[in-house]
Amino acid sequence: MSDTGGRDRQATPMPNDMNARELGRWLWRQLTSMRTALVLLLLLALAAIPGSIVPQEDVDSIGVSRWQDAHPELTPVYEKLGLFSVYDSPWFSAIYILLMISLVGCIVPRTGVYWRALRAKPPRAPRNLSRLPEHAAYTTHDGGADVLERAAAELKRRRYRVVVGEDSVSAEKGYLREAGNLVFHISVLVVLVGFAMGGLFGYKGGVIVVEGQGFSNDLTQYDDFVPGSMFTATDMEPFSFTVEDFEVDWLTEGPRAGMARKFVSTLGYQETPSSAVKSYDLRVNHPLKIGTTEIFLIGHGYAPVITVRDGNGDVAYSGPTIFLPVDETFQSFGVVKAADARPGQIGLEGEFYPTFALGDGLPRSSFGDLADPVLSMLVYTGDLGLDGGGGESVYVLDKSNAEQVLKEDGKPFRLDMREGDSIVLPDDLGTVTFEGIERWNKIQISRTPGKLIALTGVSLALLGLCASLFIRPRRVWVRTRRDENGETVVDLGALDRSNGGDPERGEHELAAITLSLQGTGKVSP
């Protein structure tokens, strides 16, 4: 059965002596053999495991730093092995590239074989039909030609491709199985191409926007931005939007009390600077599509409005300050850097509790909504490293050259404030005022070119797969001969060539064909 191509192609034993050409051919046969494909698949599965155990740079970069802090000895080894980005590592890539080569080496010859098989006639009947796994025979007064004619009609009715010979009929069906199998394997390649395009030409970025403020799609406005390696900034669509309103619904009772849901962020947006302003209710699972770019709401939090006046009474810092939530109670962490404060720079670092509570003597938040908001911050002064010009994160206060502001008794001076409170700092450093609270949204923006290709690929793969798994290629032969009594002996045989086989169904079909040829009894479908 040469027309199943790769199926019968097994790794051949290595010959003892051969030249370079032969060696190359031998290697190629090894690489494109079914067994190699199987081993490579198992290897791929194995190689994917570490990425689910060791934190991954692309998925959880904070987790990576935490892990590295906890395992200083292992870190360099892991780094060498690429264990913090398994799916980009050379060894992972090697496996799937080998698999892809093997795949191409498998598809190309099989397509040729299939193409020839498609145009070939169903093969001639084997000499001895009774050797086939499914067979039947009967004797009749009908003439041989008559029986074969009826057999051909019956098999055609059953959607077989039929060839009538001198004393036999050959029939075959289920050609689409192999086609489905080829489509499936080719589609795997298509999906990878689509996927790669997204990675190469697309981008993904995030920005935190405070309610009432806006964003325009420009590289400089992103907080974090991950471009594909072939991405150019001219690919960015010139839209802009403003977060006009943000609403969230807090559950106050039931087993999930404290959970937030029904997030709605009302955006006013323009597709281009000259187009009209439209409005969109941005929700989880309902991204806004502008051209080929998509905008997602993926997070929210609080931005206490803080004003710092310095020792001279001048405003050194004022505005909504983004605090990042650390858990579901929205206890949040944030930093204020007043670089222009005189006589000394002022840095604040601490927590915001939307609903202040004391648990085990420690301050915490008991609920994510603003029931009793409290801001609690420690104060630093001196050189906060703010003049170095960029580079430092707005969420981290560099305290290495600063000193903490203390109370007279030597304990840290802490600002514990409710909305509207103003506190005078010791040593004439200035005043801090907690003016109010605003909200922010974390907006994710991404472009993924090639996604339609990938989607078409997976859908085709699924169709091909179903054809490959469920279409059952079969061959049926009917042969007649005349016995010594002058009667016609009819031999039938069938071969199920599918992988799953279904002997009962096959026998059932053969019995039905036999019955219908005999012209007795009912013809079952």
Binding site: L42, A45, S52, M259, F263, H300, G368
Partner: protein
Amino acid sequence: MTDASWEVLSNQAVAASGVVYFLALLAHLVQWAGLRRLPAEQQVTSGRIAMAGRLGVLLTVVAVGVHLIALVGRGMASDPNRVPWGNMYEFTLSGTFFVGLLYLVFLRRFKLEWMGPLVVAFVLSMMMLAVLWLYEPVAPLTEALYSYWLVIHVVSAVIATAAFTLGGLCSVLYLLKERSRAERGYLARLPGLTSLDRISYRMHAFGFPVWTFAVLITGPIWAHEAWSSYWNWDPKEVWAFITWVVYAAYLHARATAGWKGRNAAIVALVGLATLWFNFIGINFFSSTSQHSYAAPAAIHSTTTEVS
């Protein structure tokens, strides 16, 4: 009916279906105890033993029906109403339901009567585990789960899981029967090795496209809607991918000389192990997974990702 009474109904239906599954198990045990005494070739189509077998199937049908009521009640008890697969307890409840249902659907087609006692025992013990250790009161879902993709994605994943589980059961029996020389008893009465291998293949062949649909089509589409990226190598995704690749290897194994039968059965069981590990393990061991149902997230964790 109020939400609270739906929840009560669901809990009662779980208990009731457990009892009926237990009775079905008893009926099958009576049947197989009787069959033990007879030579393996002897077919039994009438008499007390056959009656017990038929009763076992009938009771299983009833139990699966009541099981369905438990699921519906669970969904109706939530506000807003939803599909009953939002946490581990509900997953286990729906997963076992589909195991029972698929068994009944394929019962005639693949002649699965011999599977009855094992399927019923499996479903019953998983349900007991769920009630004892996984029970959670009805609760609303986190925001990202409110999507019709929840229905499509999860139902296909659960159906594929059930099919793979039944296929894995056949593979285990294949490996056991291969080593057994018994002339009577359960193993001796199972279908022959070729048939077991084939039934296992067909369960997997049914499960694989469904899993492909769940993991590689609806999963990415939904992940994109909710979290803005199609594929993130999140631990749950990694393991779903691993499962997919292992089952692809299984299908290859069956078409590779020297791998059919025994080796293929082993690959299938490796696949099943990755599948269950993903379902059970990842929820407990991974805190970074966005799929973790162990704790509710804000919208989700990327709010803390900003650096």
